[in-house]
Amino acid sequence: MAAIYKFKPYNVGRWVIWSLFALVLLAAPLVFTSNLSVTMLAQMGIAIIACLSYNILLGQGGMLSFGHAVYTGLGSYMAIHALNAVSGGTLNIPVSLLPIVGGVAGMGFAILLGWVTTRKSGTPFAMITLGVAELVFAMSLMFSEFFGGEAGVSGNRVAGEAFFGITYGPQIQVYYLIAIYTFVCVALMYAFTQTPLGRILNAVRDNPERVEFIGYNTQRVRYMAFIIAGFFAGIAGGLGSLNFEIVTAEVVGAGRSGAYLLFTFLGGATFFFGPIIGAVLMIIAFVLLSELTKAWLLYLGLVFLFMVMYAPGGIASLIMMNLRVAKFGKLRQIWTSYLGLGLTAIVMLAGAGAMIEMVYHLQLNSALGDTVKFMGATLNAKSLDSWFGSAFVMLTGLGLFELARRQFARDWGVIQTDIEKEIKRRETAL
């Protein structure tokens, strides 16, 4: 029953999305012009590539890795050594192509270490990635020629021949280099999801045993995905070298790997664009949130815990669920519940946050006096009033939130049933 006429409509939606993405990348520094913003945007680009490469393993392959920073970090190290070689005149590669050196390095290490790592799957795989990450981090303290010891390895990105007058001295030039790499890498990684290997990788995630019975060597599939993820991780690392001009041992550390895991999961591992959201949040958290409050790691851990329990698909899944509700025209029915949920949550979190901030203040900043500013109000960490006040606010908020949550759950349930009925109706109408 082969179709004689093949009609492939021009996929307008796809072109619109990618053009918008390119536009955002181009125009962002023109909208957010401060130095801090451009620095953050540059870091976001790098983080997007890193988190997307991590999601090749986590979201697409079902492989939980605790050591992805090994590949971004080693890519960084190779790239900065290459940069120094370019500065020293022994290597003649344009600075613009140095991230690819990082990518090749990441790929090389993935080929080497990945063979051992992908021999297992699931929980043992996660443990092995942890062990390998610790191994590499411990080695970084031992071999100071390559890893630069305590001070790390630094370089100067203004090296070699200027490329059409671009020296990469100013941050904005580095940003645009990163933006180009980001666009290309995101496009390539998206294309990967539409290839045979990409699809079989998804099958391996869903049911590794069955994949063996349709002719594929599951371990080989995982190994190849690992290598591809390592390549893009290395590119991210190489861009990082150019951006910061210094590489220290923490780039292969457990903290960095943990951050990739945390934020990719937070953004949403089940959709392609989830890690992009996660990467943006990661930079905002590390740069801005850490300045705002000393308790940011605690908040982060708690948010992550709640996400795993209540929204394991991440922010992306929350967006998609609501888009689905909107598509069926039911968003109107639920927005009041959302409002109630949001307001009561704010009250509750304000109370809790006030108490946490006061505790942190007592622990860390008590030399600066007793008062701490929180959401515009001044709290006295040593006065009982502040404590009672915050506790009261939090408990009231908690009670109201629980009420709002139950109402929301009822409304959501009704809407979901309606949507299911509508889907069935459309199916049978065909």
Partner: protein, 344 residues
């Protein structure tokens, strides 16, 4: 000679501490399929609880109360959080414990600060259990407790006396670990609850349909596992150092132990703990590098080789990565682990 004996004992005691931790981890993993990423965090919490409690009621009561408290916290966590995530699969369970490790670290730093605290062992354990005296004339002898200064030095310059003390805390660690091991084995094989646990290890649904409250058993096992970690924490914290970084340092090693020993195998965990404990303790004390070896053997090396950073590395410098090297080797040559049965 005395170096060998003392190092062996030190290594054994460290290995037994690792086993205290990894046994709880293995038990939880075998039972529930959850690899508790926050296990080392419970170890740390045990140390800190022990520190605070020993300041209020003394060390010995703290030794009993702290693990119970930690176990209660573990059971609470299982009840509130882990149980909720259980239907989602093993990866979310691992992630939830991963998130917990972050939260616990922050909370500990919040309450007790970011620097190390002085958690001292009780008076009776502060000196040596025994001292080996190597007298170049009289030979090897043992003195219980700490050897007085006169015994450790000789008036005659020609006689060499070396005193090697074995800390009482280490001895106590070994004692507690062995006691715990024996009682665990007895519990699992001789009591009814142990039988239920053994059955639920492989067939939880069947056990549930036989009328046992499997979720409650899970909570008990998780609490017991974390309680064991807490006990190890009280002992480890008073013997070594109690600081926020203690979770990270021991955390990765016990995961290596569990994978090397074979996931789900208690005896494998025992073997791997002792092996890694002994090897690492010996390695840290040995200052040999390839270069010193070559010198001893009388090999002539080129100038380039002598400058090579690999060759200059002493065994003691390499010691931190030995467990991970071990891991990689096991994975290449024997992926099931030393005594593994479950494929994980």
């Amino acid at each position: 000679m005395e170096f060998f004996i003392i190092s062996m004992l030190n290594g054994l005691s460290y290995g037994l501490l690792l086993f205290m931790l990894s046994s709880g981890l293995t038990l939880i993993f075998s039972m529930m399929g959850v690899l508790n990423f926050a296990h080392a965090s419970f170890y740390m919490v045990g140390a800190y609880f022990g520190y605070t409690l020993s300041q209020w009621v003394g060390f010995w009561p703290a030794l009993v109360i702290a693990p119970l408290l930690v176990g209660a916290c573990g059971a609470l966590f299982e009840r509130l959080t882990l149980r909720k995530v259980h239907p989602f699969g093993h990866v979310p369970e691992l992630l939830v414990t991963f998130g917990l490790s972050y939260v616990v670290l922050e909370l500990v730093q919040l309450v007790w600060g970011r620097t190390a605290v002085e958690f001292l062992p009780p008076e009776i354990l502060r000196s040596s259990a025994f001292t080996l005296i190597n007298h170049s004339v009289n030979g090897l002898s043992v003195v219980w407790g700490a050897a007085p200064a006169e015994m450790c030095s000789a008036a005659d310059a020609a006689i060499r006396v070396v005193c090697s003390p074995f800390p009482a805390t280490r001895g106590f660690m070994m004692l507690v670990a062995l006691l715990m091991l024996v009682s665990l084995w007895l519990l699992l094989t001789r009591t009814r609850i142990g039988l239920v646990i053994q059955a639920a290890l492989t067939h939880p649904e069947m056990v549930e349909s036989l009328g046992h409250n499997v979720p409650r058993v899970f909570m008990l096992v998780f609490g017991a596992g974390t309680g064991l970690a807490g006990l190890a924490g009280v002992i480890g914290g008073s013997t070594f150092v109690t600081e926020p970084a203690m979770a990270a340092t021991v955390g990765s090693v016990i995961f290596v132990v569990v994978v090397v020993g074979g996931m789900g195998s208690l005896s494998g965990a025992f073997l791997a703990s002792v092996l890694i404990g002994v090897i690492q303790t010996f390695a840290v004390a040995i200052d040999y590098s390839f270069l010193t070896l070559a010198k001893d053997m009388g090999w002539a090396l080129s100038a380039a080789t002598q400058e090579n950073s690999f060759a200059k590395l002493t065994l003691s410098q390499v010691a931190p990565i030995l467990p991970y090297l071990f891991l990689v080797l096991i994975l290449i040559f024997r992926p099931k682990g030393l005594l593994g049965t479950r494929e994980g």
